[in-house]
Every structure is written in C-alpha cells, then in structure tokens.
C-alpha cells in the first residue's frame, strides 16, 4: 500500500528545518501577492506619507528645552511617533484586515486542507509585515530628513536600538494583528473593527498628541500596549535626554522599552496561536 512508503512514515510536519523552509516559501508568496496589488501597495504607503506631510506642515515650530539646552524641531519629536505608528499600521492593522479577508473569503480554507503548519503561515505574515514596516519607516525618514529638518542619529548605538525596537515592535504588532482577527466577524467589517483600537492608541500613546498632554490615567492605559513603548523607543533614538525629562517625566528607559516589547512579542505569539482560526467562511 502506498501508505507504507518510508518517506510518509518519516514525515514530520513540524520539524524545524521544514518550518524554516515553508516559512521562507510563505514569505515569498506573501510578498509576491502584496506587491502585485497596486492598490494595496499604494494605499498602504500613502497614509504614513500624508500624516508626515500634514503634521510637519501644521506643527512647524520648535519644542523649547530647559535653559541652556536649546530647542528641537517639532518634526524631530513626532517623526519617531509616526514611525511607531507606521509599524503598528503595517503589523497590526495591515495584517488583521488582510487575514480577516483571507479567512472570510475562504482563501485560508485551501491552506487548511494541506499539511502547512500554522507557524509557517505566521512566519509568512510576520515577514510581510516586517517588509512593509521597513519600507514605511524608510519613506517616513526620507521625507522627514529631506523636507522637515529631521536629523537622524550619528551614534551606531542609537541605530542598534532603532533596529531592536523596530524588530520587536513589528513582531509584537503583527502577532497581535493575527490574534485580533478572532474578533472580526466578517471581511466587510474588518476595517471598522481594526481602526478603533489603532486610532485610540495613536491619540493616547504620543503619536498625534504630545505624550505629556495625555492625562495620566490614559497614559496608564497606553502603557499597557506596545505603541507607547515603540514611540518612546524611537524617540530615544532621535531626541536628546532632556526631551524625556520634559515629555515623559524622566528618562527614555530604553532597557525597559525593549523588555516590554520583548514580553509583548512572546505574549502576542501565544495569543496568536490560541486565537487564530484558518477558516471563518462557514458555520
């Protein structure tokens, strides 16, 4: 009987080498699918560009420092926030909406009928989010430095922190996006279900409004979620220490930022495994 061929007996669907190979294959397929859809690409990158342009134009002043410390351009303050917001958009909002559509249109039904491990599927989605997030960050930085006087750090240590915050941030946000699809009950409702938490967090995490202007209890709420920590981490990269004293009531606490994001990364991974369903197109 064909069932007894040796290769089938040795088939280990979750072997690490197989997960790595299928994960890479999923990333390639996700990227091909994404970048071949002009509309998706265009609108994914349009929003952060608009935000940077509008914000930089509206708030063109400087933030005054304490005596003797000078000032920083307002753009230098909120571009790191925009970068954090872009990471959340690529990871959380982009994936949650994209996956919800795939679930409800029965696209994932095909994958669920194959021996593809869900871990490999997650790797593909995170890979897509990392790619779009990196591009978004590059676009925001390019616009900020070219047109609005944002000066990137020269210290390699700061760039290392930048990469660490970016990787942990996009990882946590995309796994949270995967988990969040559990709350989306139809593909048409997906944007409406995904936007509220994203919008609210942008207001209370120091993206749209200076963090020091957010009431304390809302700061406490924001401190639970990754966006506030990403914004704080990116600000550490771009801003002098005195801004932390003025705006965050202390220092940048980059170690704490990385620890919180790392914890979210692990927790969101567990949540994603528990909450994710292949197929929501049937009862």
């Amino acid at each position: 009987m064909s069932a007894a061929t040796p290769a089938r007996e040795q088939f280990r669907p979750n072997a690490p080498s197989r997960l790595a190979r299928l994960g890479a294959s999923r990333v390639a397929i996700e990227l091909a699918s994404f970048f071949r859809s002009f509309d998706q690409v265009f609108f994914t990158f349009l929003l952060p560009v608009l935000f940077v342009v509008v914000f930089s134009t509206v708030f063109s002043g400087d933030i005054p420092g304490p005596p003797g410390k000078g000032t920083v351009p307002f753009a230098q303050y909120f571009v790191p926030g925009m970068i954090a917001s872009g990471v959340m958009s690529a990871g959380f909002a982009g994936l949650a909406i994209g996956i919800a559509i795939e679930q409800h249109d029965g696209l994932l039904r095909r994958l669920s009928a194959t021996p593809l491990p869900r871990t490999a599927y997650f790797i593909g989605k995170v890979g897509l989010a990392v790619t779009t997030a990196v591009l978004m960050v590059a676009i925001i930085l390019a616009i900020g430095t070219a047109f609005y006087g944002v000066s990137p750090p020269s210290d390699p240590g700061r760039w290392a922190a930048f990469v660490a915050v970016l990787v942990l941030g996009v990882g946590s946000c995309s796994l949270l996006g995967i988990a969040y699809t559990r709350l989306i009950r139809s593909s048409t409702a997906a944007p409406a279900v995904v936007q509220p938490p994203y919008l609210v967090l942008q207001f209370i995490s120091g993206v749209f409004i200076q963090y020091s202007s957010v009431p304390g209890w809302l700061q406490a709420v924001a401190s639970v979620f990754p966006l506030k920590w990403m914004a704080q981490g990116f600000r550490y990269v771009f801003l002098p220490e005195w801004v932390a004293a003025v705006d965050y009531g202390g220092s940048w606490e980059i170690e704490r930022v990385l620890a919180v994001l790392a914890a979210w990364f692990v927790g969101a991974g567990l949540l994603a495994r528990l909450a994710f369903r292949w197929d929501r197109s049937r009862g």
Binding site: F11, R36, D105, R110, P115, L116, G283
Partner: protein
C-alpha cells in the same frame, strides 16, 4: 487497510434542523464513489465532516483510519481536497501556486505534470485572477492532486466546466483512480457519476436512500425495457400488445426485450421491409431513476449545504 472511509450513523444538526440525518457509508480503498443528491440534501455537509472541516453531532467516522476531527498534518498530507468553492490567490500564477503547494507535501507530483494533467499549460504563467471560471476550476483540481494523496475529495469538481473540460477532468480523475487511489466525489451530473463511479449513493434530506453500482441503482436492471418502433402506415402491426402513440409510433414495455426484438425481426423479414423502422430499446436512465427516488423521498426540503 480495508476501507478508506468508514462512517456510521453520522448526524449533523443545526438547532432543529438535521442536515445529515444518520449516514452510514463504507468506501473501500481504490474505489471511486459518487454522492448524488439535490441541492441542500446534505452532500457537502457530510463530505466536510469526512474532510475534518465540520464537527459531527453524533456518529462515528474514520478516514484513512483516523477520526477526521483529530486529523493532524501527517493525515492532511494523505488527503486531497477540491472544494466546491474557496477563495483564489488572484495575484499568483498556477505554476507559482503549485510549486508553493507542492512544497507542503512529502511526495508531491511534479507541478508541470499536474498542470499538463488538467490542461492548463497555456495559462500556467497567467495570474489566476485573470483566468476564466473553468480555468480556475482546473487549477483547483491540480491543487487537489499536487500532493499525490491516497484519498481525494471532490466537491462538484466539474461545475462550471465546458463539455470538453469535463471530459478532461474525468480523464484526470480516472487516471488518478487507476493508480489504486480512492475518490469521493459529489456531483449534480448523473452522467458524471455514471462515467466515473464504481458505486453511487443517492442522498436525499440527509439520508442515503439508495446505494450501488450506477447500472444497478434503483433496481434499474430489473425494470421493464421500453421498445419502440415506427412502422410505415398501412402495414399489419407487429405481434404483441403494442400501445399506439398519436404520432404513429408503437411502444411496448417488456421484461424480455430480446424476445420482442426477435419477433420484430421475423415480422420485418416476412414483410420484406429490411430494417425495423425506428427501433429503440431503452432501460430507464440513471437520471430517471434518480428523479423518481428524489421524488419518492420528498427531496425538495432545502437544508443549508
């Protein structure tokens, strides 16, 4: 391994509604089995229970020796599925998608072989979003086959195909079965069941009401044959209790069509008219038997698929 599929008293209830009302079925390895039934009879629900995509309310099921509700990835690798409907990866080409899917399986078919089998060579590098409905259906079939499964589920595999496409799909399914693999297909097309299936089950209102080889189903072989002739006017009628139609044709229902044909031949010889004009001998078609069975079992009560 004896049976590829074993189901005993499988029930699926949605509230007060019984979509599958106690189905028992055994499909031996190597058989092509067709489930026939009107829309909403419970075909897809039953098949999706066997595929492991729906939980049964009651009853027992084993597919390749495993309870489909507990089927793991190694089991998935042995089972191929062609859905009645599923989303399409519009931005990818059949070749890209098949290479991707082939990577999921321990012993996949060659993707170009699979593409050639379903007759999609000319469109292999065209994005799926730009294919016609029938071409997409061919891609579905190739995706179901790419893992070279032991058991293939086909839910209305040729719906949307043109006649040539159907013939081609049938050839693919037969070729697959000829390698000793098992096929469970659902279909609306009786000629499809007759063409492909070793056995047919007719499912009406969640129950299998008839089961057997297509040429025997519903006692087809025992039913009376209908002999018709169309004699030119003015001739003496052939011997026997013929019933005359208004258009002049004569019809006879008989359990012994051979004897009737011999008598007709003698009659034609005596009158020296050569061929018996308009001679036709017919058994009821599968379609006639099917429609009768569906009517008998009150088959229009719609339940969700």
């Amino acid at each position: 391994m004896s049976a590829a599929i074993e189901a005993r008293d499988v029930v699926k209830r949605y509230g007060a509604l019984e979509a599958v009302a106690g189905v028992s079925l055994e499909v031996p390895a190597g058989e092509v089995f067709a489930l026939l039934g009107p829309n909403g009879a419970g075909k897809t629900t039953f098949v999706e229970i066997l595929e492991g995509f729906r939980r049964r309310t009651a009853g027992e099921a084993r597919v390749l020796g495993t309870d489909p509700e507990a089927g793991d990835l190694a089991w998935r690798a042995r089972v191929g599925v062609v859905f009645q409907s599923a989303g399409y990866f519009d931005a990818l080409t059949p070749r890209e998608l098949l290479r991707h899917f082939a990577g999921f399986y321990p012993n996949p078919l060659d993707r170009d072989t699979a593409i050639a089998m379903v007759g999609l060579e000319e469109k292999r590098d065209t994005r799926i979003g730009k294919l016609s409905g029938g071409q997409k259906r061919r891609a579905d079939l190739a995706l179901g086959l790419i893992g070279d499964p032991e058991l293939l589920f086909l839910d209305e595999p040729t719906t949307g195909l043109d006649p040539e496409g159907r013939r081609q799909a049938w050839a693919v399914i037969r070729e697959f079965a000829a390698r000793g693999r098992t096929v469970l297909l659902t279909t609306h097309y009786l000629d499809e069941a007759e063409h492909l299936a070793d056995r047919v089950g007719i499912i009406v209102r969640g129950r299998i009401v008839e089961l057997g080889p297509p040429h025997l189903i519903g006692g087809r072989e025992r039913e009376l044959a209908r002999v018709t002739v169309d004699p030119p006017p003015g001739l003496p009628p052939p011997p026997g209790a013929w019933e005359a139609h208004p258009d002049g044709r004569l019809e006879l229902l008989t359990a012994e069509p051979t004897a009737v044909v011999i008598a007709l031949a003698r009659w034609a010889e005596e009158l020296a008219i050569g061929e018996v004009p308009g001679l036709e001998v017919r058994r009821p078609t599968l379609e006639e038997v099917y429609l009768r069975l569906v009517r008998q079992h009150g088959g229009n009560g719609e339940v969700p698929a």
